[in-house]
């Protein structure tokens, strides 16, 4: 059976036409979505890293796309010089104190630029007779990568905003970086850090008893240390009184002239009283020393363990070495082994 298309040209023409319409519509839509026909105003900023940056990277403000990266290049100071194109509609948002915040998605690695509008101006506009602080085209907008941008953040003129997860990641990264710098950790020592933290918490847990003892010893009112300190203060006061009396007596004998006269003037009961007081004080001191001796094993134990805790605190953080290991004093195995002829 012969089969022949009657309207081949029309059918092909229609398909080609539809394809062209789709193509042109697509191109127009892409051009519109990319805001190719929108007039832009050029501004500059500087970043420290171009990882994830492309000419299609957008500049967003409160979820709105307010501009786009036009070009970027490496400058003489090894920073990234970025040229931004701000759409006409949002041009008035680019004011003095604005900051660009570079945000890298931790999962995709794509960069997005966030525009941070100042919360307040460093001077009152009305006071200086200015109606607007809008930046002129071609001006430099500081980024948070640069010290001038950081200063604005520190002065709370701008606040970080954007993707919450990215901010958390970045804050965590900054935190870890600070910890590393602070404690001079190596990059691969994060695991060690957490192991040390774990060990430290274990040692703190094991030393709970020490803190309990310390609490008991230091508890005001009924703690033995406080009782002893009270007794000691009392004795010290009495000793001071005795010493004053002795001083007074010695003053009497300081000048040898008329010593015999003065000696004869000394009242027997005064000297007796001083010696008696001294005797009482010595007895009290003896009691305190005995009490101290009684407390000493407990205190020695507590101090010994406190020393260990402080030693580990000293070594912290990162518990370099932790608490010194004592020589093994226990059997390393609990699997009993019977001796010959036992």
């Amino acid at each position: 059976m012969n089969f022949k298309f009657k309207h081949t040209e029309k059918i092909v023409g229609t398909f080609v036409f539809i394809a062209l319409v789709i193509l042109i519509t697509g191109l127009v839509l892409i051009a519109l979505s990319k805001k190719i026909f929108v007039e832009t105003y050029a501004y500059r900023t500087k970043l420290i890293d171009a990882g994830g940056l492309s000419v299609s990277t957008t500049l967003n403000f409160k979820g709105y796309e307010i501009g786009r990266v036009k070009s970027f290049s490496l400058d003489q100071n090894n920073n990234i010089d970025v040229e931004l194109g701000i759409y006409e509609k949002y041009r008035d948002k680019i004011v003095v104190g604005s900051v660009i915040y570079r945000q890298v998605n931790p999962i995709t690695g794509n960069m997005s630029l966030i525009f941070l509008y100042p919360n307040r101006f460093s001077v009152k506009l009305a006071d200086v007779g200015i109606n607007s602080l809008a930046l002129r085209e071609g001006s430099y907008i500081p980024s948070l990568d640069m010290p001038d941008g950081q200063k604005l953040l520190e002065d709370k003129i701008v606040e970080k905003s954007g993707d919450v997860i990215s901010i958390i990641f970045e804050d965590t990264r900054d935190f870890m970086s600070n910890i590393r710098q602070e404690f001079q950790l190596k990059k691969d020592s994060v695991k060690t850090f957490f192991e040390k933290i774990d060990g430290f918490s274990q040692s703190l847990f094991e030393n709970k008893e020490v803190f309990d003892h310390l609490n008991r010893l230091l508890s005001p009112g009924d703690g033995p240390i406080f009782t002893m300190l009270n007794q000691y203060t009392e004795v010290a006061n009495r000793l001071k009184t005795s010493a004053d009396q002795l001083n007074q007596m010695l003053d009497n004998y300081k000048n040898p002239e008329g010593l015999m006269n003065k000696m004869l003037m000394v009242r027997q009961d005064q000297l007796g009283l001083a010696v008696e007081n001294l005797n009482k004080d010595l007895a009290a001191l003896h009691e305190i020393l005995a009490a101290l001796k009684e407390q000493s094993p407990l205190m020695a134990r507590v101090l010994d363990r406190t020393e260990k805790t402080l030693q580990s605190l000293n070594n912290h953080p990162l518990l370099r070495g932790g608490i010194k290991k004592e020589g093994s004093n226990a059997n390393t195995s609990k699997k009993k082994r019977v001796d010959i002829n036992e």
Partner: protein, 291 residues
Amino acid sequence: MKKYTIILSLLCMVLILTGCSSLPKEVAPQTIEMAHIKMKLAREAQGRQAYASALRLFADAYELFTRADHIRGKIDSGLSIARQYFYLDKKAEAETWIQKASDWIKWNAQEMLGAKAILLIEMAFSKDDHQTVVDIAKKTFTPNIEWETEILCYDAASRLKLKMDYSPDLQKILANLPLLEKRFEKNKLEDPEVLSLGYFYAGHILCTAEKKWREALVFFAKAKDVDSLIDNPYGVGKSLYSLGCCYMELGVEKEARSSFERALEIFTLLKDPVMVEKITGKIDSFSKKTD
């Protein structure tokens, strides 16, 4: 059209159901993996005799296994918790955990009976309750070669004490030792001390019961080597003491004295007064002979 819509809807439903059913499976392995890591860390802590830390880690693992409803892991960690309590001399807590583990084993995992039996045997053997050891060993069958060897070692030693027939146990231990040795070389033994324990008790039975001192020497020497490799000074000390006894029986005084002196050094470091006194007595007997 209606037909296609139904087919498409069914396909979508199948896809959704498959996706949903795979979700819990993704969560559970992570928990179990974490639990296994905890178990490993706990065993390391147990190896360092940090029983309190090991107890905490085993408890964490138990929690994770419970969350993932992993019954074998629950039993394993539960028994390990009981073992730590036993090592920490907290018998009541140990008993409670053994009881818990027994219930799970009874209903869910009969294959874990060996692990429970080992713990009970260890506890009985430490109290010199040899009859209990023999009774438990008699009732226990386990395909795990490590558990089996450990049970056989304690059983043979207890049978020797009770003057019962120990030869089947000894034969089985001797048959297991080469297999354990191979696994030890490949670092595949869960508890490498089992190998040294096997060598030690093989030597112990050979010299104590059969008076084969020369053969026993070989086993004690191997036990000492394994214990040295796994950093188990208690085992090294015990093997050296046994070596000294064997050399003494064989009349090789120089070697015997050397072994006793090394054993004395170890037990002095381990602060084991009983062993120190025993070894000092042996060394003194040499001195008396020389005089």
